[in-house]
Assembly symmetry: C2
Homo-oligomer: 173 residues x 2
DNA sequence: AATTTTATGTCAGCCTTGTTGACATATCTC
DNA sequence: GAGATATGTCAACAAGGCTGACATAAAATT
């Protein structure tokens, strides 16, 4: 480990061993509190529809990726198909998501948000965006990019390519 | 795009609709994926002890804030005392946390992590720190500060002072 | 054509972690 | 002494994870 080659890893306290990894309590705890509040916004609205966070996640990714298959969705959410099916069934019954048979592979189900589903997904995304914009508003323009790169780097390296494609891959306009 | 259907949402600059708040999908989704992976590291170890994420949160904040009271812990975690008590009881029984009667107010319970508790808390914090350091390692030194300020600003303004004090306030050694 | 693999659905039951409501106890405050 | 406060506890319930087993249709392989 060529520690000195990476300034960010250099120790501020010369006595402390860098390998002991002084815990980054600040970033750990801020992450917890930020996430806690970040997901609380949608909760209130979801309640009115009889939905929970699990429904939100499914609706969000389906709305953002029309034609998503069950397998791809499972890979994104990292839950079992039984867990997914419970909430997905409700979203389909209440007409927020539509499931069509695959065209090339007819075993697959291609998922689409209905107009009603897209509307709710957008409403929730805007809510969260308002919080994000408020946070970014006081910061330098480069900050957003730094935050974005930080979050991306927190993701398991195995998945980062996949996530990158999902998040940035299909930029319309 | 039926922008003209809702006059109140019409933009001054065609194309850039301020009030429509184009969703920050990138930061929304990256936050989800980053958090998903961030909490997954400790999960594996907690399993070996028969603990879950709820135990982790309690142990973490007690370890970081020796003498924390039940009320303060409830305020941090935002859960009911019944939920807290379930996991706290287990942590006390298994000797990871110790509960002492308050000195000035004997109704209060002051919580302390035992040596075993501190050890586990530290082990988990180091695991998460490793992920954080890996993410920061490729970035400019100012990036950490930007991320920190961003996360802090995501928190409900009502709580940010409290969180700031909790996270940065008591820098011991 | 027969077989195997794959994508999905579904039943049944369990666990963790959140919730509400009611009630008990000790201690502090007025 | 009366009332407020900090905590503990019982019971029941809900959301959203999990495992295991089994079913079906369609694709892929042999």
């Amino acid at each position: 480990m060529v520690r000195d080659a990476i300034p960010a890893l250099k120790s501020h306290h010369p006595g402390k061993d860098i390998l002991a990894e002084t815990p980054a309590y600040d970033l750990i705890e801020l992450f917890f509190f930020a996430y806690r509040d970040f997901v609380s916004d949608p909760d209130r609205i979801l309640d009115e529809y009889g939905f929970g966070r699990a429904h939100h996640r499914v609706l969000h990714f389906v709305s953002r990726n029309p034609g998503l298959t069950i397998a791809e969705l499972l890979d994104i959410l990292r839950i079992t198909k039984q867990s997914l099916n419970r909430v997905l069934k409700e979203l389909i019954e209440k007409d927020f998501i539509e499931s069509r048979m695959g065209t090339s592979d007819r075993r697959q189900r291609l998922l689409f948000a209905t107009p009603q589903g897209r509307e709710l997904a957008l409403k929730l995304a805007k809510l969260q965006t308002r919080r994000i914009m408020r946070a970014l508003s006081g910061m330098e323009p480069e900050a957003k990019d730094a935050v974005s790169r930080y979050l991306l780097s927190l993701i398991d390296p195995n998945d980062s390519a996949h996530v990158k494609h999902l998040v940035f891959g299909s930029e319309e306009t």
